[in-house]
């Protein structure tokens, strides 16, 4: 324990500092009241930790997309600060966060290609895609369709992950590609967690990860029941890593439900019943975010001298940015204030 306090003392202080600068409930209340994106930006500039980055921007002219970019840049800034304070193997684990964004960016490219459009580097920003470890952005951008993109990824890990789809007309579709990439990412997390982390670090991270995987799997089964009417093998194939807190039997029963209603009845009996309490499926994703928010706050408090605090802070930061984006979208599309509130995870 003592050694953890020494090991994480500087980063823990840093994280606590950044944690205290996260938006409060009060802030969200005020933000929802704003009438335009510019007012939101104005508020963020004057009242919150985003002031530094927004100080160079003319908020009266800001566009929703630009604001999003500023927010993401701030996130990157925070990561770099965190990164600077970490030493040793743990750093390797924290680095995986970049991989996540890299995968998200890749998914965006696939989405663009599948929708038949071409990639425009200037309009879509791929902040996290960098020329590294075999990735050559210019080469990726030449791709005309998903198949070519996979071929152009040759030399990267993503090629190995996706190579089965390269020559398969039956299975090459956006859904499969995205699922495969997600599965790969969680596989990577679990593998590295075991390899790079120890003791308290490992316990905390493992807890969060398995819970996250479980909930995502449950949401997936629910969706497959409600919208896709898939056979059980497909449902199993598209689930994330099977490192579950739930017994295998329970999962099997959930998959074997005949429809979404039966699924909900069973899901409410699991440890994740909180998420499926209301029968309004729109709120499940929000419930999930809310659940993760509470979990992360808990870890921040109880395990402040472990990597758990770092990971939790990063999750919280992501949730915060998601919240702000939800608010600006809500304002932009004139959604009722009460409804916007639902989309905010606090």
């Amino acid at each position: 324990m003592l050694i953890d306090i020494i090991k994480y003392s500087s980063i823990s202080t840093k994280i606590k500092g950044m944690f205290s600068k996260l938006l409060t409930e009060e802030d969200y209340k005020n933000l929802i009241e704003k009438k335009s994106v510019n007012e939101v930006a104005e508020y963020l500039k004057n009242r919150t930790s985003y002031s530094d980055l927004l100080s160079k921007v003319n908020v009266s002219m800001i566009h929703r997309g630009q604001l999003e970019k500023v927010l993401i840049n701030q996130m990157i800034n925070d990561y770099q600060k965190i990164f600077h304070h970490i030493r040793g193997k743990v750093k390797g684990f924290i680095k995986l966060i970049y991989d996540k964004y890299e995968i998200e960016n890749l998914k965006v490219i696939f989405r663009i290609l599948e929708s038949g459009e071409s990639i425009n580097l200037k309009e879509d920003s791929f902040t996290f895609l960098k020329d590294n470890e075999g990735i050559r952005i210019s080469k990726l951008m030449e791709s005309k369709n998903s198949k070519q993109l996979i071929t152009n990824l040759k030399g990267t890990v993503y090629y190995d992950v996706l190579k089965d789809y390269e020559n398969s007309t039956t299975f090459l579709n956006l859904f499969n590609i995205e699922t495969t990439l997600d599965q790969y990412y969680f596989f990577l997390l679990l593998k590295k967690e075991k390899k790079l982390l120890k003791a308290e670090d490992e316990i905390v991270v493992h807890e969060t990860l398995t819970k996250q995987i479980d909930i995502m799997n449950l949401l997936w089964i629910y969706r497959s029941k409600k919208y896709f009417n898939m056979n059980r093998e497909e449902i199993f194939n598209n689930m994330l890593q099977n490192k579950s807190k739930l017994p295998k039997e329970v999962i099997r029963n959930l998959v074997d439900c005949k429809d979404d209603k039966q699924f909900l009845v069973l899901a409410k009996k699991t440890r994740y019943s909180d998420i499926f309490l209301e029968n309004n499926q729109d709120s499940f994703e929000e419930n999930y975010n809310h659940y993760m928010y509470k979990l992360n706050i808990k870890y921040m408090r109880n395990h402040s001298y472990s990597i758990g605090a770092i990971i939790s802070f990063i999750h919280l930061k992501e949730l915060e940015i998601g919240n702000i984006i939800s608010i600006t979208e809500g304002i932009r599309y004139n959604i009722e204030k009460e409804d916007i509130k639902q989309f905010i995870a606090i």
């Binding site: 089965d164 039956t170 299975f171 599965q183 596989f187 497909e234 199993f236 689930m239 099997r252």
Partner: protein
């Protein structure tokens, strides 16, 4: 012997000659480049080269290919550089060569891969046959049953894991043949009626089926024999391909090395552009060189009317500090490593290497005086110097010799003081003499350090520190005064009774040192405007520390004598043990082990202590470690 005198050379000429100048005069030519854009940032017409280095990616590729060739970059001779410059389409040549080589290597890899894959498949089929090897049934018949279908093939570990999730619920019998790092070989049986559905599930997991029935005829035994033959054939094919490939590598190595070397040079030329600047037609580049080198460059460039060459003395240059390059005679050059451990001296100050070479060796010898053990050090030094070819061996030789000399003076050989008569005295018999002499040596060395510092301060024109600092003239006078007073007292037995001398040697220096900052600001033009206001408390403690420092640094040299005693004492212990042990074997063991212990432990401690004395007692007085390292643009190994 010293820190090398530097000149800043500025070269300007038409842009088309940039490559030539860099290749001929900068690369491998001991030039420390200075970033022109930073030094001359006030001249608007000069702009930095902004083009991307086109050779970077090529070099990257060729280094990748070099995994197969293991070639080294060689230094190009003058003639070869001229040849390189004369090639008109060198980029094209390099590109074509890289492309060709890459093609050939890929071809080889493809061939080897395909051979390995089919070999692996055949091995898997053979393993598959093992359990049914004694069946006297035609394989073809076995695999075309009416009600049961059979499949054999592989899938990825990842998908195998997925399959396991719901395998129990499928009407399938799965046999896992072999689990490899990435793939799993399996076979499965299923009722013919649902074969379509099951195959669909396996297909969605990217199961790669390998058809056995196709080319295979006969009983399992016959098939087995056939497979073994085919595997053998594949093995010979692989061998053939490998030997053909290594022949290719051998035949191509020379030209690969040539291209690799040329590319490295060209890439460096482009990299050096970062240091240069240009106008519309001319380039401009500057760097530090030794005076001699400056003359050489001047001579060759003066005949070229297109080129402009200007050299400046280090003292005339504004905005750039000259780098430090130590130049010492071969004999003491290895001691530079002790200097680098501490830091790099400022340009224009005295290079302490020769000083260290003498004092370090001497102190080691005094502390570790022994004819036999010194001889061991001498042998070790010779070994490193001449067999391992490491220059540091020279230090070993030197300390070995000096240790032997002092061993002779002390009369000690392998710690034994009875064999030879001391030429001077044994440390344990004249403890006081040894200790007083070592303090005496300390006094001498500290005075030397102060003198070096005074010379340095004159050279760097730091007059404030020269006159008023504890390591400047003020400290020097104080220290000399203290020494005179003490020596006088020891010799005559009564203190010097002169107010005048007291004021001269103690009063004035102490007052001057106390008011060092004020005096510097008042009398010598203050360099920095916003210097913090000196505080009297701080000045008092600094003065106190300085006085204490002189005392403790001097006494610190007692350790030179103390370790000589220590060494003798340890030796005495070893030889006492020798006398106590009864058997001849025991005696030899004690002497050998004891000497190993003394050489290992005592040698280490003495080595460290000598260094410690250098760093703390002397370097801290005159050595300012803010020198810049001299970095030249070197490529390749000597032929």
């Amino acid at each position: 012997m010293s820190v090398l005198k530097m000149k800043l050379v500025n070269i300007a000429g038409p842009i088309k000659k940039f490559d030539e100048i860099v290749l001929k005069h900068i690369i491998n030519n001991d030039v420390h480049l200075e970033n022109t854009n930073l030094v001359l940032d006030s001249i608007d017409e000069l702009i930095p080269f902004m083009d991307e280095n086109i050779y970077d990616s090529k070099l990257f590729t060729i280094e990748d290919l070099n995994k197969y060739f293991n070639a080294n970059v060689k230094k190009l001779s003058k003639k070869r550089i001229v040849e390189l410059l004369e090639q008109t389409n060198r980029v094209h040549t390099i590109d074509k060569y890289i492309e060709k080589t890459k093609e050939r290597i890929q071809e080889h890899n493809r061939a080897i891969n395909s051979y390995h894959n089919s070999k692996n498949e055949k091995i898997q089929i053979r393993n598959q046959m093992m359990p049914i090897i004694d069946l006297d049934v035609d394989i073809d018949y076995l695999f075309n049953l009416e009600f049961i279908k059979f499949r054999f093939g592989k899938l990825s570990v990842e998908n195998y894991r997925k399959l396991k999730r719901y395998l129990g619920d499928l009407n399938v019998v799965l046999i896992t043949n072999q689990i490899e790092e990435e793939t799993v070989w399996i076979s499965y049986f299923m009722p013919a009626g649902i074969a379509h559905k099951i195959d669909g599930i396996f297909e969605s997991l990217f199961f790669e089926r390998i058809k056995l029935a196709g080319g295979i005829k006969g009983t399992p035994k016959q098939v087995q024999e056939m497979l073994v033959k085919e595997i053998d054939e594949l093995n010979t094919k692989i061998e053939k391909e490998n030997s053909a490939f290594s022949k290719y590598i051998e035949s191509e190595r020379v030209s690969f090395q040539k291209i690799y070397t040329e590319l490295s040079y060209l890439q460096r030329v482009d990299e050096i552009k970062v240091y240069a600047a240009h106008t519309l037609e001319s380039f401009y580049i500057m760097g530090w060189v030794s005076e001699q080198k400056a003359l050489e460059i001047k001579k060759t460039l003066s005949s070229d009317l297109e080129m402009m060459f200007v050299e400046e003395d280090a003292s005339d240059v504004q905005g750039a500090k000259p780098p430090t390059k130590l130049k010492n005679k071969k004999f003491i050059a290895p001691y530079e490593i002790l200097i680098h451990l501490y830091g790099l001296p400022e340009y224009n100050t005295i290079d302490p290497t020769s000083f260290v070479a003498i004092t370090y060796t001497l102190m080691f010898g005094i502390m570790f005086g022994d004819v036999g053990q010194g001889f061991i050090f001498l042998l070790a030094g010779l070994f490193f110097k001449f067999i391992k070819k490491q220059p540091i061996g020279l230090i070993g030789i030197n300390i070995g010799i000096v240790s032997m000399i002092f061993g002779g003076l002390y009369g000690s050989i392998f710690g034994n003081e009875d064999i030879i008569k001391p030429l001077w005295t044994s440390p344990l018999h004249s403890i006081n003499t040894i200790l007083i002499l070592s303090v005496g040596m300390g006094v001498f060395l500290i005075i030397t350090a102060l003198i070096i510092n005074i010379i340095n301060k004159i050279r760097t024109k730091d007059y404030g520190e020269l006159f008023f600092n504890k390591n400047g003239l003020a400290g020097f006078v104080l220290y000399i005064g203290a020494i005179i007073f003490v020596v006088y007292f020891i010799i005559t037995g009564k203190p010097i009774d002169s107010i005048l001398l007291m004021v001269l040697f103690f009063g004035i220096p102490i007052v001057v040192m106390f008011f060092e900052k004020q005096l510097t600001q008042k009398l010598i033009k203050a360099k920095k405007k916003h210097e913090e206001k000196p505080s009297f408390v701080e000045a008092f403690f600094e003065l106190f520390e300085a006085l204490l420092g002189f005392l403790s640094n001097t006494i610190s040299f007692v350790r030179v004598g103390a370790f000589a005693l220590n060494h003798a004492g340890l030796s005495l212990a070893v030889w006492s043990l020798y006398n106590m042990s009864s058997s001849a074997g025991g005696k030899i063991l004690v002497v050998v082990l004891g000497n190993i212990l003394i050489i290992g432990l005592e040698g280490l401690i003495v080595g460290i202590q000598s260094l410690r004395l250098q760093y703390y007692e002397m370097f801290s007085r005159f050595f300012r470690t803010n020198g810049r390292k001299f970095v030249s643009q070197n490529i390749g190994k000597n032929n």
